[in-house]
């Protein structure tokens, strides 16, 4: 068990936006957090990273442990060491995740060095990581706006790989990408799990993607988990009405289409 969430309550002003009793993530597992906008899934990920304050929300109670280490209410200086190196996060708009003023290589190497690598170590890790995600090394010479969505997302994943992150939080990583590119990113995530045992928390409103990629899925609604289980189980034979409504709403392709 690499990530454990217990009795997490997050408030936005007086309103409770997340209320999770329990959520566990194992090494080498891909857990899907599915739900619509406002369900609290992104806020949960931000809480794990200790970034709730940026949206004005507050963790009012509960515990989040990564590798048996408590994260809630830690000092920012301590959290900064964990962010990126133990837990990495990738976002929906990958190109905007990079500062447009710098070459991506600068951001990449600098991030590695911030977590303790020497310059040559950083370059070596970067090379390995880029190979892993199948990007050419000279991609580091580009600026963020010169990258396509798919390339930028791979780069973000490469950073997680280079930092040897144990947990990857992926917040709608493929929602803004073309469907063919999406497939590649999903393959990449699967490969990382298989090869490095990376644990992935995959947040998405796209149930079909969750069904294909994730081993387990937690369906969220209004801050709570309404259903949890193996994705094949939950999405094929949902027991909860809301889950069923979600699954029914997904337009389906089928050879026997009407």
């Amino acid at each position: 068990m690499i990530l454990e969430i217990r009795n997490l309550a997050i408030n936005f002003g007086a309103r409770c936006v997340v209320d999770i009793e329990a959520l566990d993530l194992r090494t080498g597992e891909i857990l899907g957090l599915a739900g619509e906008s406002g369900s609290g899934k992104t806020m949960t990920a931000l809480a794990i990273m200790g970034l709730t304050a940026t949206s004005g929300a507050r963790i009012s109670s509960g515990s989040i442990t990564v590798d048996d280490r408590e994260l809630v209410h830690q000092r920012d200086t301590d959290l900064r060491r964990i962010r990126g190196s133990q837990i990495a996060m990738i976002f929906q708009a990958p190109v905007s995740s990079f500062n447009p003023l710098f070459k991506v290589g600068y951001i990449f190497i600098r991030s590695l060095r911030l977590h303790g690598a020497s310059r040559s170590e950083a370059r070596a890790h970067a090379r390995e990581a880029l190979e892993e995600v199948m990007l050419p090394y000279d991609m580091l010479e580009r600026r963020p706006y010169e990258l396509s969505g798919g390339q930028a997302q791979r780069l973000a994943i490469a950073l997680a790989v280079a930092l040897r992150s144990q947990v990857l939080l992926a917040d709608e990583p493929t929602s803004a990408l073309d469907v063919s590119v999406q497939g590649e990113i999903l393959d990449l995530i699967r490969r990382l799990r298989d090869r490095d045992g990376m644990a992935v928390l995959f947040i998405s409103h796209d149930l079909a993607v969750v069904a294909e990629l994730c081993d387990q899925v937690a369906v969220m609604r209004a801050g709570r988990i309404v259903e949890f289980g193996a994705s094949s189980q939950v999405l094929h034979s949902p027991t909860n009405d809301y889950t069923r409504q979600l699954v029914d709403s997904v337009p389906k392709l089928g050879t026997r289409a009407g």
Partner: protein, 325 residues
């Protein structure tokens, strides 16, 4: 089937690139759904704007009822705008943030003089209710409504002028999945009730299959496959369509298939490749593909494809389905 809207060999240059390079489409009189599928860079949104005269055409023509709309001015142009309406992807930016939604719908009625002044308010209310909103939503501002509600307002505004053709550019991509389902149902209902013809642009193959009898697949500004949606999605003939088809994630295990993967290539500012535009990524590419651009040819009833090796591609596809996970 009389053709209502005809797009003939249009070429559109946009941002220094040839975004659309010789695309032809026919939208027959309603009720009918024509789908336009493509990924980013395919030119699908550019075609929508070109068809509505929001962008100039470098070549080719758009014809409504057989008349070229390019030279329409004044009342002819207004008539055209009434007949062909568009719903854009992001309802948040499509509505004037300083205008109440009821006023936005009223504007449509006023500009085209749809009803006498005394009946404006009641007509606005009727339209709001028709798209599934409350009449009390009229005085609200766009930011006070949810994404789905905003999109309904946009649809109401478009329907207010009683168009014959509705172009929908990714109408549900920005919405939650349950909201999406409801909006698609609304579009379906409007189609039946108003005998509407629509051109539905989407990257989502399932949505296109659900709502459109026919579809066209775009790649880098050209139509590479066209015909009956069912035929194309059951048996895609072009390797690119096959990639798209196999990449669609499925909840239903039985429908899953092995994903056909092709190398991704960044868009080259110098322009598309010589010959077939897909050849640098195509697993079946041969010398002919590198030199000669393929044109659309019939491969089956109501199924055209622009590929030199479509027959081989079809065989391969059938094999991939059989050996699917």
């Amino acid at each position: 089937m009389t053709t209502l809207l005809q797009v003939r060999d249009i070429v559109i240059d946009f941002g220094g690139l040839r975004a659309v390079d010789g695309v032809s489409l026919d939208v027959p009189a309603g009720p009918f759904g024509m789908g336009l599928v493509g990924e980013s860079g395919s030119g699908k949104s550019t075609i929508a704007r070109g068809a509505l005269r929001l962008l100039p055409l470098s070549r080719g023509s758009v014809m409504l009822d057989g008349k070229d709309v390019r030279h329409f001015r004044g009342s002819d142009l207004r008539c055209f705008r009434r007949s062909v309406q568009i719903v854009f992807q992001d309802p948040g930016s499509t509505l004037d943030p300083r205008m109440r939604v009821g006023a936005a719908i009223r504007e449509a009625l006023v500009v085209h003089r749809m009803v006498p002044a005394g009946e404006l308010e009641s007509r606005v209310e009727e339209l709001l209710v028709e798209v599934g909103l409350e009449s009390s939503d009229g005085p609200r501002f766009p930011h006070q409504l949810s994404g789905g509600q905003r999109q309904r307002v946009v649809i109401a505004r478009a329907m207010a002028v009683e168009p014959r053709v509705l172009v929908l550019d990714e109408p549900t991509s920005a919405l939650d999945v349950t909201v999406q389902a409801r909006i698609l149902r609304l579009i379906s209902r409007l189609r039946e009730e108003h005998r509407l013809a629509y051109l539905l642009i989407s990257h989502n193959l399932a949505v296109v299959q659900q709502l459109c009898e026919q579809m066209a697949v775009l790649y880098l500004g050209k139509v590479i496959e066209r015909g009956s949606s069912r035929a194309i999605l059951e048996q895609p003939a072009h390797p690119y369509t096959q990639v798209l088809r196999s990449s669609v994630p499925e909840i239903d295990l039985a429908e899953r298939r092995a994903r056909i993967s092709v190398p991704s290539i960044a868009v080259d500012a110098a322009g598309p490749p010589e010959g077939c535009r897909f050849h640098p990524r195509c697993p079946l590419a041969v010398e002919e593909c590198r030199r000669i651009p393929p044109s659309l040819r019939e491969i089956d009833r109501l199924h055209e494809v622009a590929c030199h090796r479509a027959e081989e591609a079809c065989e391969r596809f059938v094999e991939s389905v059989d050996t699917a996970v």
